[in-house]
């Protein structure tokens, strides 16, 4: 799932400064799940914006809307009417959503209300951790299902760096586990430590040609 | 099943009586809840919340909730101002005669507006809130103060009452109840600290009991000396007043806890306050208490050794003489306020009640349990005991004991009913 977090209010205020009619657009998928851009966050941002602007005696009128997936043109089309009525849109969807909206409403500025940060999963409620770097060349078969490319602070492929802290914690954060220690333990448990002994040649960082594009063969 | 034999009479509406009543009522049994006072809740309803930044687990906040539930429970019938006169019959079929004193104030009608207190001519007022700090909140009439009981014709409160809740005419009512079982939960008396004359309670205004302190906290929201209204900064607690001595050869279970929690509360309101606790043995066991003790042992001065005498100095301070056992020295120290951590004594009425019901007292004056495996059962089948009338307990333990008594009562009722049915079947 894509994880995002709300942008600082300063930035949002700056983006919306020239406008008096704005739509706050939420997205019902990833960003709802990570508490960044669902219906609830839309309402909070809208309210906060209204308060901010009324304190500046620069009233703003705000519409609120959420769609199921902002990265789908058909779904975004549902709120077309609302978009027409406003001068600008602030989208709480991930970068894909923001761009879909911009593309569909080329005459309206669409601003990002969140920073899209990573692909991750919840560790517990309200805490998400990065799990996948979308490198396009999955390595997980060799590492016991633990991705060293994003979960190791240095993205090393051949084992831990020399900086591992006591108890197998990461050099840069004593609260985080060293990915390679995790990999070691996992592979040991599976009796597949030989995988860790293999030499892995430098990675192909062009496995996905940027910008990425996938054509399903079936279609 | 015989319907009346499925009723239970709970004697005493303190926290354990309430717990028993609620538990029984919730499992479908009709409960008479008898209380000799005008209001329910007993001692526990007058305890203050001892939370600082975090809850100190004193459980005082549990009480208003339970009272609320009791008052509105359709299967509990409250009989306030009432006492037991006679008992006959046996398990499954007790006949209890109760006397209900004339209800000068109809609790149903009283809306606690306070107009009666305003017009009452006596000082102190003869009609006043039950205890200002507790929920529910209703008014009581003190026969010893009321002019009518001194032969005068005062009628001010009755006339002033907007809901016509006050009446003086009428008599005590007697009625007979049929119940299957009884739960006795008559609670305790606080040890009368006047009996320890050398500590000056009752003589010196700034020697108080733990219970007094609880009430000051609820009434004032903070600690103030009753006479001067000043916030004291130097306070001593004396443990085991009325516990662990010749006449009370038991530990009262609650005093170390409340003394420490009140100390914590005092320190919370006024971090500069100096609090000293004089003790013999600290009782730090109990869920959640250990943390609390760890936290406060740095800030509270604990002195091993209990004072023998308190003298009031000319300036009104209290000079305390004690032996600091850790140093082996006789010391004198002065305090602005001395709090006596008074213990739990058997209720004065328990002797009479024991005679009326035919149940045994233990040699320290509490109701005797059948044996150590059956602390809710008495020598009479169908009569159970709950809470502090069996021995000292704190609020959680009283509640637990009350619930356990309900459990036992429910069990014997079902068993005796099925037995009766069995007998009937044979006839």
């Amino acid at each position: 799932m894509i994880i995002a977090e709300r942008k600082p209010m300063d930035e949002i205020k700056r983006m919306l400064a020239p406008y008096k009619k704005v739509l706050v657009a939420g997205c019902g998928t990833c960003v709802t799940v990570c508490w960044a851009g669902g219906e609830k966050e839309v309402a909070i941002l809208a309210s906060q914006l209204r308060l901010a602007r009324s304190a500046e005696h620069n009233e703003i009128s705000i519409f609120e809307a959420s769609v199921e997936r902002q990265c789908e043109r058909e779904m975004v089309a549902e709120i077309k009417d609302k978009v027409t009525e406003v001068e600008a849109v602030i989208s709480l969807a991930c970068g894909a959503g923001v761009q879909t909206m911009s593309e569909m409403f080329e005459d309206k500025p669409v601003f990002p209300g969140v920073n899209t940060t990573f692909i991750g999963m919840p560790e517990k409620e309200g805490l998400w951790v990065e799990m996948c770097g979308a490198c396009g060349d999955c390595f997980l078969d060799r590492t016991g299902g633990i991705c060293p490319i994003v979960r190791c602070a240095k993205g090393l492929l051949n084992g831990p760096c020399g900086g591992t802290r006591k108890g197998g914690k990461c050099e840069i954060d004593p609260d985080k586990d060293c990915a390679w220690v995790l990999i070691y333990r996992r592979l040991e448990k599976q009796g597949r430590l030989d995988l860790m002994r293999n030499y892995y040649a430098p990675k192909n960082y062009r496995a996905v040609k940027r910008p990425g594009r996938i054509q399903a063969a079936k279609a | 099943m015989n319907k009346e034999s499925n009723n239970v009479l709970v004697v005493g509406a303190g926290i354990s009586g309430i717990a028993s009543a609620l538990e029984l009522a919730n499992s479908g049994i009709n409960v008479y809840l008898l209380e000799k006072e005008a209001v329910i809740g007993g001692h526990s309803a007058s305890f203050c919340c001892k939370a600082t930044d975090v809850c100190s687990q004193c459980s005082a906040c549990v009480v208003p909730d339970k009272i609320k539930e009791t008052v509105s429970h359709p299967q509990i019938r409250l009989l306030t101002n009432s006492t037991i006169r006679r008992l006959s019959g046996e398990l499954g079929n007790f006949r209890v005669t109760i006397t209900q004193k004339l209800q000068y104030i109809d609790q149903e009608r009283c809306i606690a507006c306070g107009l009666c207190t305003e017009v009452c001519p006596t000082d102190p007022k003869a009609i006043h809130p039950s205890f200002a700090e507790a929920t529910p909140f209703s008014y009581v009439l003190d026969e010893e103060l009321c002019l009518r009981f001194k032969g005068e014709k005062c009628d001010l409160c009755r006339k002033g009452c907007p809901t016509k809740a006050i009446k003086f005419k009428g008599e005590s009512k007697e009625q007979e109840l049929s119940v299957g079982a009884l739960i006795v939960a008559t609670g305790f008396d606080v040890f009368d600290a006047r009996k320890k004359g050398s500590l000056g309670y009752g003589r010196y205004p700034n020697v108080l009991t733990g219970l007094d302190l609880e009430q000051i906290f609820t009434r004032e929201g903070c600690l103030k000396l009753p006479a001067s209204g000043v916030e004291p900064r130097n306070i001593a607690f004396i443990q085991c007043v009325g516990s662990r001595d010749e006449d009370h050869d038991y530990c009262s279970h609650v005093c170390c806890k409340y003394a420490m929690k009140l100390s914590g509360l005092i320190k919370y309101h006024n971090p500069d306050a100096r609090v000293t606790i004089f003790y013999i043995d600290l009782q730090t066991a109990g869920k959640g208490f250990a943390q609390f003790y760890e936290e406060y042992k740095e800030n509270i001065r604990f002195v091993r050794g209990v004072p023998v005498e308190i003298l009031q100095t000319a300036s009104g301070e209290l000079e305390v003489r004690f032996e600091d056992i850790s140093q082996g020295k006789v010391c004198r120290d002065t305090f602005e306020l001395v709090v006596l951590s008074v213990g739990i004594s058997p209720s004065k009425e328990s002797w009479d009640l024991a005679r009326t019901l035919g149940i045994n007292l233990s040699d320290n004056g509490f109701f005797a349990e059948r044996d150590s495996m059956n602390t809710n059962e008495t020598n009479i089948d169908g009569i159970f005991i709950a809470g502090t009338c069996q021995g000292p307990k704190d609020i959680p333990d009283s509640i637990a004991h009350g619930i356990a008594a309900a459990s036992k009562a429910r069990q014997v009722l079902t068993e005796s009913a099925s037995q009766r049915q069995g007998n009937q079947g044979r006839h």
């Binding site: - | 050398s198 085991c240 662990r244 001595d245 010749e246 013999i280 091993r304 050794g305 209990v306 004072p307 023998v308 005498e309 003489r321 004690f322 032996e323 600091d324 056992i325 082996g328 020295k329 006789v330």
Partner: protein, 155 residues
């Protein structure tokens, strides 16, 4: 100095307990009320009733019976009045004194001396109190002895 418990006379407490007045000594739980209430301990910290009981209980026979402090007690019975466990310290002191004589730690003549001191002190106190009370009511009953008059001046 470290006290080696294993080398002490553990029988001592039973011996004291079998003396008249010493019966309850073992139940002492050291709350300190005896010492706190003691007028002698108040003026001389060397005298500590609670500690004397403690020493007996631990079996420090020689130390207790040969000590000076057991002779300090003035038998005012304050300690007994306050003890929550019914330990009769004043009576225990009597027992200890008897044992001290019996076991030869002190000479019987010494006991006599102590008794004389007690009588003397009582007399002195009595005279002083009479003098003070008398002066208040301006009575004329009896004159204090010289010693008592002298003592009163120093107060």
């Amino acid at each position: 100095m470290t006290v080696a418990l294993s080398e002490l006379d553990t029988k001592f407490k039973y011996d004291v307990a079998s003396e008249p007045g010493g019966e309850n000594i073992k139940v002492c739980f050291a709350c300190g009320l005896c010492t706190a209430s003691c007028p002698v301990a108040d003026i001389d910290q060397k005298f500590n009733p609670r500690r004397i009981i403690r020493k007996v209980l631990l079996g420090m026979r020689k130390e207790v019976l040969s000590s000076d402090t057991i002779w300090f007690c003035i038998q005012c019975y304050n300690c007994q009045a306050h003890c929550p466990q019914n330990v009769d310290f004043a009576d225990i002191v009597k027992a200890l004194r008897n044992m001290a004589v019996r076991e030869g730690y002190v000479d019987p003549s010494f006991v006599k001396k102590i008794r004389e001191i007690d009588v003397f002190c009582q007399k002195l106190r009595h005279e002083m109190v009479v003098a003070v009370v008398g002066s208040r009511s301006q009575g004329t009953e009896g004159k204090p002895s010289e010693l008592a008059a002298e003592a009163l001046k120093s107060l």
